[in-house]
């Protein structure tokens, strides 16, 4: 939701990045204020997922230009774990399996690490168990999740719920949801979206990276951005998503090129 007294959370200016020498982002601009929900849409290969991984600090990508400020701080000065502690959360498109490590142990370490860095109290195993079970209700997760290894043998839907559970626990300032709707059936999508909606508030912001309009029926964005060839080429309100659904992406590119030519 757009608030009058919102704060500037994320400011991306002219971001360029490469992976293995190939240029993926070519001057991306984006401004996100607290309370807002943004959707970044675009065809495959437009650089959406790359952008979310760069914000989280994945080492496979090299930033070659531009700036990213997060709450007034240069994001690139922070190591990936420091970004997470500062409140940048990435819900992975493909959550990683960690065999042998119990989910409850992992969740508790994560929670306590982040809490400690925010100057808050850690929870002991019993307190944490109560805390996490409460959060799990939000996502209609069965308690046996806690006994299993992190994401190991989880279905697509279970993995995504586990991501949103972590978002619920860690209470991030900026949550980036990378293709969270992919691989979800309609019931799971509803549950996950419902969870995200309950977590959205006037102090945080959500950036959804998605291919389809489907998710946006459940999590209604304030802004919809269209990304193509490493840049945001069009920004609109939620109605833009419907237009994309019916007309596809091609017309946006054509329109953009025409506008660019006219400007020259």
């Amino acid at each position: 939701m757009i608030y009058q007294d919102s704060r500037l959370l994320l400011e991306v200016r002219g971001l360029c990045a490469t992976v293995n020498g190939t240029e993926i982002l070519k001057g991306l601009d984006l401004t996100v204020r607290s309370g807002e929900v943004h959707a970044i849409m675009g065809p495959n290969g437009s650089g959406k997922s790359t952008f979310s991984k760069i914000l989280a600090g994945h080492s496979a990508y090299e930033v070659t230009g531009g700036t990213v400020m997060f709450e007034g701080q240069n994001l690139f000065d922070l190591a990936p774990e420091e970004r997470a502690r500062a409140g940048v959360f990435l819900a992975f498109q493909y959550p990683i399996e960690i065999p042998g490590v119990g989910n409850s142990q992992f969740l508790r370490l994560t929670y306590n690490t982040v809490q400690t860095h925010r100057g808050k109290e850690e929870l002991d195993p019993l307190e944490f168990d109560d805390f996490v079970r409460e959060k799990m209700k939000l996502l209609e997760m069965s308690p046996d999740f806690l006994e299993r290894s992190v994401n190991e043998g989880f279905s697509g839907g279970e993995k995504k719920r586990n991501e949103i559970l972590q978002m619920a626990m860690l209470d991030p300032r900026l949550a980036i949801l990378d293709e969270t709707d992919s691989g979800l059936d309609i019931d799971a999508l509803r549950i996950v979206a419902n969870g995200v909606n309950q977590l959205a508030n006037k102090d945080n912001a959500i950036v959804m990276v998605t291919h389809y309009q489907r998710l946006l029926n459940y999590i209604v964005p304030d802004y919809v951005h269209v990304m193509e060839a490493g840049r945001i080429i069009k920004t609109g309100g939620k109605e833009l998503a419907f237009e994309l659904e019916t007309r596809g992406y091609d017309w946006v590119g054509v329109e953009h090129k025409a506008a660019t030519r006219a400007a020259v």
């Binding site: 989280a56 600090g57 190591a79 774990e81 997470a84 502690r85």
Partner: protein, 478 residues
Amino acid sequence: MSATLQNLVNQPYKHGFVTSIESDVAPKGLNADTIRMISSKKKEPEWLLEFRLKSYEAWLKMEEPAWPNVHYPKIDFQAISYYSAPKQKPKLKSMDEVDPELLRTFEKLGVPLHERMALAGVAVDVIFDSVSVATTYKDKLAEVGIIFCSMSEAVLDHPELVQKYLGTVIPPSDNFYAALNSAVFTDGSFCYIPKGVKCPMDLSTYFRINTEESGQFERTLIVAEEGASVSYLEGCTAPAFSSNQLHAAVVELVALDNADIKYSTVQNWYAGDENGIGGIYNFVTKRGLAKGVNSRISWTQVETGSAITWKYPSCVLLGDNSVGEFYSVAVTNHYQQADTGTKMIHIGKNTRSTIVSKGISAGHSNNSYRGLVKIAPSATGARNYSQCDSMLVGHQSGAHTFPYIQVANNNSQVEHEASTSKIGEDQLFYFAQRGIDAEAAVSMIINGFCKDVFQQLPMEFAVEATALLSFKLEGSVG
């Protein structure tokens, strides 16, 4: 991130200091006279000298094994000193007479020898180079009839027991290093649990190599009579020398009817530096004989040290319904090489064995699991379950599995499961995205990987092993 991981693995070895103490070191070289010298220094009975000389004769005819998946220059057995002992009063009345320099050494290693400061509830026999320097809680154990002392004392004070069991589980001709050990062993621990006694505390031996040019050849013998039970722990460290030292031990366990022996090792010999210079050659033969019905022998090992490890703690399941277990974590880093595993020999009816092996290889190291499950025609209804998991850290390490299964009857059951995994950049990124740094992430992944083995260790050991592993692997992923 790779750099962080590299730093984590490359932590220095904490136990690499040398104690400056006057030692009585035998001249280098091995011949029949060396053996006579060792035997006479220890005032041994004639039968033992004969045992040694026969072993030496056998050794001369044997070849060093070439089958392990490890590589090292040929050892010059004439360049090793076979006896080294700190000079001190011949017979110690109490711990207060132990050389203070030695007391300080062991305190530094976390093994205080004064009973008033000693590890609560653990009796310790401490071996420094070739000799046992102290054994704690001896009198208290004697009250319930348990004999716990150095091998040298046992030979003099309980010759009938030593003679009855020595070499019965691992005959001198068993293999090259067992033969060498049988010829030149200097000290070790002896432990005898009489009929029906449950040992009231954990027994432990702490081995320390201090002299650069000496080898350590210790010999441990544990006998649990009918219905007896004991939990035994073993720890090892050595100074960081640029040369290699040979450690060729023999450990024999005998469990009679309904007896139970649990043997746990945390092996942290000096592993050499990051370029593979120096370190211990750990060529050890360990075997337990589950002789009686319903007896149980359980090996748990955490192998983190040594330049080269060649070690297969095994169980011979002779008694009907006897049980053998092997739980192992072997970690190698830098240029370390490990070829380790077990042998489960099923002879009695309805014998059962479990093998859980976890190998972790980092740096340029090579880690092999080698295991034999053999089911004799007589072992009807035998069962074995084996699980061998390998984890690779980084891109230059190797993991290998060599399982051998021989089944000679048709109503036994053998299961083998194996897996190989890798700590990946993606896993670490996932942890990082949740606020957890690489160090804590590696420690959590490794502990998760090893948990089936760690939960077999006695409490204090489990804590030590966990710390040791995180310490050793810090910074090794990339």
